[in-house]
Symmetry: D3
Subunit: 250 residues, 6 copies
Amino acid sequence: MKILVINPNISESVSALIEAEAKRSASPGTEIEVATAPFGVAYIETRFESLVGAYATSCVAAERAGTYDGVVVAAFGDPGLQGIKELLDVPVVGLTEASLMTAATLGQRFSIIAISPRIKAWYRETVERSHLGNRLASIRALEEPLRDIGSVQQDYAERLKALCNEVVENDGADVIIIAGAPLAGLAREIRHELPVPVVDGVSSSITQLEGLIRLNPKKATKGSFAQPPVKPNRGLPEALERLLSSRKTD
Amino acid sequence: MKILVINPNISESVSALIEAEAKRSASPGTEIEVATAPFGVAYIETRFESLVGAYATSCVAAERAGTYDGVVVAAFGDPGLQGIKELLDVPVVGLTEASLMTAATLGQRFSIIAISPRIKAWYRETVERSHLGNRLASIRALEEPLRDIGSVQQDYAERLKALCNEVVENDGADVIIIAGAPLAGLAREIRHELPVPVVDGVSSSITQLEGLIRLNPKKATKGSFAQPPVKPNRGLPEALERLLSSRKTD
Amino acid sequence: MKILVINPNISESVSALIEAEAKRSASPGTEIEVATAPFGVAYIETRFESLVGAYATSCVAAERAGTYDGVVVAAFGDPGLQGIKELLDVPVVGLTEASLMTAATLGQRFSIIAISPRIKAWYRETVERSHLGNRLASIRALEEPLRDIGSVQQDYAERLKALCNEVVENDGADVIIIAGAPLAGLAREIRHELPVPVVDGVSSSITQLEGLIRLNPKKATKGSFAQPPVKPNRGLPEALERLLSSRKTD
Amino acid sequence: MKILVINPNISESVSALIEAEAKRSASPGTEIEVATAPFGVAYIETRFESLVGAYATSCVAAERAGTYDGVVVAAFGDPGLQGIKELLDVPVVGLTEASLMTAATLGQRFSIIAISPRIKAWYRETVERSHLGNRLASIRALEEPLRDIGSVQQDYAERLKALCNEVVENDGADVIIIAGAPLAGLAREIRHELPVPVVDGVSSSITQLEGLIRLNPKKATKGSFAQPPVKPNRGLPEALERLLSSRKTD
Amino acid sequence: MKILVINPNISESVSALIEAEAKRSASPGTEIEVATAPFGVAYIETRFESLVGAYATSCVAAERAGTYDGVVVAAFGDPGLQGIKELLDVPVVGLTEASLMTAATLGQRFSIIAISPRIKAWYRETVERSHLGNRLASIRALEEPLRDIGSVQQDYAERLKALCNEVVENDGADVIIIAGAPLAGLAREIRHELPVPVVDGVSSSITQLEGLIRLNPKKATKGSFAQPPVKPNRGLPEALERLLSSRKTD
Amino acid sequence: MKILVINPNISESVSALIEAEAKRSASPGTEIEVATAPFGVAYIETRFESLVGAYATSCVAAERAGTYDGVVVAAFGDPGLQGIKELLDVPVVGLTEASLMTAATLGQRFSIIAISPRIKAWYRETVERSHLGNRLASIRALEEPLRDIGSVQQDYAERLKALCNEVVENDGADVIIIAGAPLAGLAREIRHELPVPVVDGVSSSITQLEGLIRLNPKKATKGSFAQPPVKPNRGLPEALERLLSSRKTD
């Protein structure tokens, strides 16, 4: 099977981190292709930045339509995820969604470790969209301004480990979700040092998506995740227009 | 004061309906300017269509930055509303948000009348985002396929009135929200025939926004609705990039 | 238009604060009249005190029926608000309700700054009644016993500003609601010193109510906000009995 | 022990029904005294009517202070219940509260059978105040206008039994709550004909209150159910003023 | 009446504490019999331990079927409570359920004081099962490892009192629930030293159950708390099999 | 990897259905072993039956400890699932949990199709335990009494398909969960005839569990899913006692 992993932000260094962890997580026989948003911002930590990343990700998914069995929207906060599930006829997952679904099988309450304070509000809202907000024990973040998004793991490894221990000791977390594509792979590195299971967005996404592709769910032809109805449109990239105009028969 | 009303879909006929109702609702001294999305779809009824409309609306708001005191995102479902509130330094409201806040002062439980079945799921999620989902008595919609989005009011006036009565008699609605820019003004026309207060998105938005502009709230410099942090970006329309790169001093 | 603002507590000094801020907030052409509860307690901070204030406010509203286009129940915690909405045939708002609806358009999560610890429980329950409890980041209060309810602003201005900063830094508030009629106008004074928008009950109420009056919603003849059904009664003030006995035709 | 049962409405016929069921439910050794509201309306089915009943009930409780070990606020919807709990130094229960607490031990989901459609909204809000709204399967009501509140049981016995069966068959009720003081005792009469346990407000209240009196809980001196703080007041009935002014020592 | 109190854990010392408090709480004429689980663990503080306790308690209840008018499942966390309510044809209550229902009539928000940190997660889930989670102000626990479950009260009386004061001062508790059968009776001992009402599981259970038995609710023959349908089974203790196979006629 | 699938009910015919679907769903290289509960009831549809099944399943898991990499609790309603997660040091999933997590990635709202009306209450509570109750559109069930649990699929195929279409047309389901081990494999058979994705408990469980085993999460040594603390016990099966007494070092 082939999985397209789309980085909704424009940072190639982050795409590299994502690619490394995605390939480490993939099953034998799964081909991973990573694409970077052609426009947008360096990293996504606010609702507006997510709005832009959502459109960029949609464009990339449309351009490469037909070349993959499933898509990962590879930013925590899942920019545009539900809209892209409507658009495509293959399974699509996001880093937050996959992390939540994985964490939910490993414990009752989970905490999220994030890279910046600004990002916490948007993560909280993403969790609330899933209706799992009542299982969120806490969100803790690095307080320091980020020097370089691509090197956040090395720069702050000790502080991140300290946050992990805080959520277990103080917040009642059964599971820790280390959030954000820039932290891809960090869970794998420090997992042996932590007292509860640790979940990472990229590895959870690859695993969840492989499972969905194997289950081979049918694309909805009714309900709110069927393809958007065909209707007049204007000014969209050709690939997007093509997808929106094609009628899927049952 | 001057209010910019942005139609997130590309239908000029809908923009005309919006403009008529907005001007009817505005106070003396309020100047209304309506802009139509330069790209997107004919009318928005799904999450993906909203995603596209969100980006189009952001572009329009950025292009005209500095020429208005407030913005209305004029589609029910509020495409991109929270992101656009981050982006701009003036108040921004959406049709759903304003309808909910108005309806909430007129009763405890409200129902939404919508133009298509497909749209119901997306409306429900928009209400849930506000956390007022528990006050939503029901959403009822026209079941018939829409011939022409600009003439939906005339074509279906009787059916819409019937739906209004159903939500009062059967669903326990204290207030009716007639939803969707294509229905702009319908509330005004049939209000005298209905047994509970009726709320319309466009008139509520203009009213709420005028109030906010008069209150003159300060633009946040901290918290999650401050402007997105300045960071590298690429490939954005010049107006958007300019807005994102300007540093607002406290 | 004419707005009647009723102070549910008996303190004329508080009525004076309310009147000053109400007049500052009103649009040109809006006439403000302030009435003080003829019986009750000096300031309302508990459920029982609110129960008494509710009845006093209803009596005042009934006495002056027909002389106003809308009513403000001018205590945070909105004593009797929903019952008074049933009773009258004009729009009625309360300080909490209006603050919440205004705050909800300026951010996702808000905190309330209150004048006493005792009052926090009652405020929380008022917010829960609106179903916006999940958007309440925190309620913080002055801990010191109040010397004089009419001078709380001057006495505690610095402490109140400190509480405002705490809710932004520690509790994740996007918006601050400064609560309670005794604090009427404080938002206006300190707003420029705070990093997020600040909402005040009196100015929000006047603004929201002006908007509602302009929208001219119909009085419900069905549903739970129609006038209470005509039925036998005894021992009520004449004005109240008159209102309850009049049959509103559709 | 002695229990004062206060009817918040002015109907002596309803007080008689309440008294009969209260005495039937009381343990040997429990003395029941029933008082009727000296002012108010014939029966309470709206929020405003409850607001008036709350004040009337408070006045009665204050007048007879010191003569009872506990109080029942004997209207479903519990007018003023939380405020009266603050005011008094003995346990106080309401018909809804007691019904919910009893029903909650007999099943997971319960339905409420009510006497009029108008009353449903207010009952729902009362249940929501307890935070047990998610366990409420449904509220069904007589649709017919009530001829005489004191004879509702005889007039509508068959229709009420039909509603009871509907909530079990269609709504998934494990327990039925027959609501409203005018229906006091109906549960007892038809219980043997119904397939699930039936709960009645008056008998539940007497039972719950006897239990609380036996547990002899201490009156709070801190927290939000301590007596309201002593403060200036005006125009209150002497008995109420006396209660508010007395300082309870710890 | 006769009440069977079943200790789901195997500690006779805990059964003794339970018995003492149960007898102190019982009304004259109520006979109390205490049984200890024949298999299981010393004290229950996790979900798995509760699972075992649930089965042990069911076996005991089945063995003694017909000899009691009601049953108390005497561990906080109510192991197997809902299943045992299905099984038996008399009322059954648990320590948590009874504590919550009692606390809910004494205040709006309550805190739980527990004997170990491990137990907090399971208590929280038990409260959530009742849907009263939104009224839970906090759960605080002893942090120290327990020397001897039977002597926890004496060993930690001062620390427990300190926790009680913390939940009032810091967490906004109107009522304190002292949780766990090993703490049976502690509420009675320290109640006079605390500023809010204190609720204890055993005394609440006896009181609630006496009330239910007096109300004499009918055993459901429909709905989800009717006896489990008769069906093939294997390997169950004879008493359990007999109960499951008996058909209750209406 | 090796997966142990435990059927919590005693029906070998159901175990056969489970085994067939489990093997069809497994990846190459995954060995499936199915065990049937040694005691209990023919099929689980109530809380009490689940309580018994929980204990039986725990016993089986303990007996075979060390012979598997993960466990599936193969009854919808997940008897004892959270307790068994505490007990074992490998991942454990249940049919409901896995179905929910899979469905949640395929749509926003899902409906459950069940085999009997009695079972609906217990399923609802299982979904509520996950906190995804707000995403549950509806639960519909066969109304007819089951002739033979092992042949329910053949007997009722048409009726089950009709229910599937109802939840899409009437209840707003984006995804259908066909629930219950006796229906294992039905999703696979009828999927092509339905307009939305269909999820089956057994195939979802195998897929989710394979993913978890590949992610190789660490067994918690802190938090509420660590092994239950070592403490005195009595009368437990030897295998269970051994597991409870072993101390896992970090």
